[in-house]
C-alpha cells in the first residue's frame, strides 16, 4: 500500500517566485527565509518521496466566482502553471498521478466529502511556489503531484475542523492505494497576513507560533477555532491556515517535528515552514 511518510508546510508568497527566479538566496532580505529550506532538501534526498499531495488555495487563476467549489481535487496527467497577470514568471507543467487522484476522489466521496474533480486544473503560486521551494529543478528531482484546492476566496469557508477531517479522509484514501508509493503531504499558505482593508499589513507572531506548536501534538485544539477566529487573529488571508489543518489531518495521530523556520516579513506575510514525520 502507498505510505505517507511526512508533511511539509510552506508559505506560498508570490514575491518568492520572483526572488527564486532572480536567485536572491543570499540577499539580506531573503536569506532568513531561504535558509529555512536546505534541511528539508536533505530530508527529501534521504527519503525520496514519489508523490506530493498539495493542499493549496487558488487565487483567481483556475476558479472564478461563477463556480466556486469548496474542495476540488486534480485528476490530470499534468498541471500547467499559467500567467496570473501580475508578473511572476510561469514555471511550466507539473506531472500528475491520475490513478492515485481517482482513488483519493473515490475514497473521500465514500467518506462523506463530495468533492469537485478536475481533469484540467491550472495551478497558481499557491501550488507552484512551495513545490519549487522544496524540489527546485524538477528534471533533477522528479516528483508527481496531486493538487487539492480548498476555497479561501469566498466565504463561507470550510472550518478548520472540517478541513482537518477532510485531511484525515485524504490520508485514509492514500493509505489504501494499492501501490508502493511514498507520499508527502503539503499544507501551503499562511501564516498571518492581511492584504486588504484598513487593517492591511496585520501580522500576529504570538498566534502563529502557538499554531506551529499545537499543530504537532494538539491539532484537535486548533480544530476548535472558527474561520472568524482565524481572520481576527491571523488576518483575512491568514485563514489559509485551514490548508495546514488539512495536511495535519492526513498525517494521522502521531507525528514528530523534524524542522521549522519562521520569519517576518516576507512581502506582507509571516512566513512559516515545518517538516513533520509520521510515526506509527
Amino acid at each position: 500500500m502507498a505510505r505517507i511518510i511526512g508533511g511539509l508546510t510552506s508559505s506560498h508568497i508570490p514575491a518568492v517566485g520572483n526572488a527564486y527566479a532572480r536567485k536572491m538566496f543570499e540577499d539580506p532580505y531573503w536569506k532568513p527565509f531561504f535558509d529555512g529550506y536546505p534541511p528539508v532538501h536533505g530530508w527529501l534526498k534521504e527519503n525520496r518521496p514519489d508523490v506530493a499531495v498539495v493542499f493549496y488555495n487558488d487565487h483567481g487563476l483556475n476558479f472564478f466566482l461563477d463556480k466556486m467549489p469548496t474542495f476540488s481535487i486534480g485528476a490530470a496527467a499534468s498541471y500547467e502553471n499559467q500567467d496570473e497577470g501580475w508578473g511572476i514568471p510561469t514555471i511550466g507543467t507539473f506531472e500528475g498521478h491520475p490513478e492515485l487522484s481517482w482513488h483519493i476522489i473515490e475514497g473521500v466521496v465514500n467518506d462523506g466529502f463530495d468533492v469537485c474533480s478536475c481533469q484540467e486544473m491550472a495551478v497558481d503560486h499557491g501550488f507552484t511556489v512551495p513545490v519549487q521551494l522544496f524540489w527546485g529543478d524538477r528534471e533533477e528531482n522528479p516528483i508527481k503531484t496531486i493538487p487539492i484546492c480548498i476555497n479561501t476566496v469566498q466565504h463561507p469557508l470550510a472550518s478548520p475542523k472540517r478541513c482537518y477531517e477532510f485531511g484525515k479522509a485524504i490520508g485514509r484514501a492514500i493509505s489504501s492505494f494499492p501501490g508502493d508509493e511514498k507520499v508527502v503531504v503539503l499544507g501551503t499558505g499562511g501564516l498571518s497576513h492581511q492584504l486588504d482593508g484598513k487593517r492591511a499589513g496585520f501580522i500576529n507572531k504570538e498566534f502563529d507560533l502557538m499554531c506551529m506548536d499545537k499543530i504537532v501534538d494538539e491539532p484537535e485544539t486548533l480544530a476548535k477555532l472558527s474561520i472568524h477566529d482565524l481572520v481576527r487573529e491571523a488576518g483575512a488571508q491568514g485563514a489559509e491556515f485551514i490548508l495546514w489543518m488539512a495536511m495535519r489531518g492526513a498525517l494521522g495521530d502521531k507525528v514528530a517535528e523534524v524542522h521549522r523556520n519562521y520569519h517576518i516579513p516576507i512581502s506582507n506575510t509571516a512566513a512559516g515552514l515545518m517538516l513533520l514525520e509520521t510515526r506509527a
Binding site: G85, Q154, D196, R199, G201, I203, A236
Partner: protein, 117 residues
Amino acid sequence: MSTHTIQEEIPGTVIFDGRMAMKGYALNKMCYSFNGAAARDAFRADEEAYMEKFGLNEQQKAAIRARNVLQLIDAGGNIYYLAKFAGIFGLTVQDVGAQQTGMTVEAFKEYLRKQGE
C-alpha cells in the same frame, strides 16, 4: 430557517461573502480577465470601453479610474482579483497596503518588519 450566526465585526476587515460576491461580480470578472495578456492590453488601450464591456456600475468605474483600493473593495472587489488590476500598473502588495493604510510605502514596510521583533 437560516442557522448561521452573525459574527462581530473585525475592524478594518471586509469579509468577502455571498453578499459582496454578488455586489462585485462585474468588477471581479473584469479583473479576473487580466490573467490574460491580451485582456491587459485591451484595458490599457481603452479603459472606458473595457469597463463597459464587463458592465461595471458607476461606483465600480469611479473606483477603477481613481486606482483606489479601499473604494474598489467597497464596490465589491475581492483582493485576489484586484491584485491583477494593481499588477497592470506594477504595484506590489506593499504599495497596495500603503495606499489602504495611508502610510508611505517605506513606513508600511517598517510596520511589517517591526511586527517580527
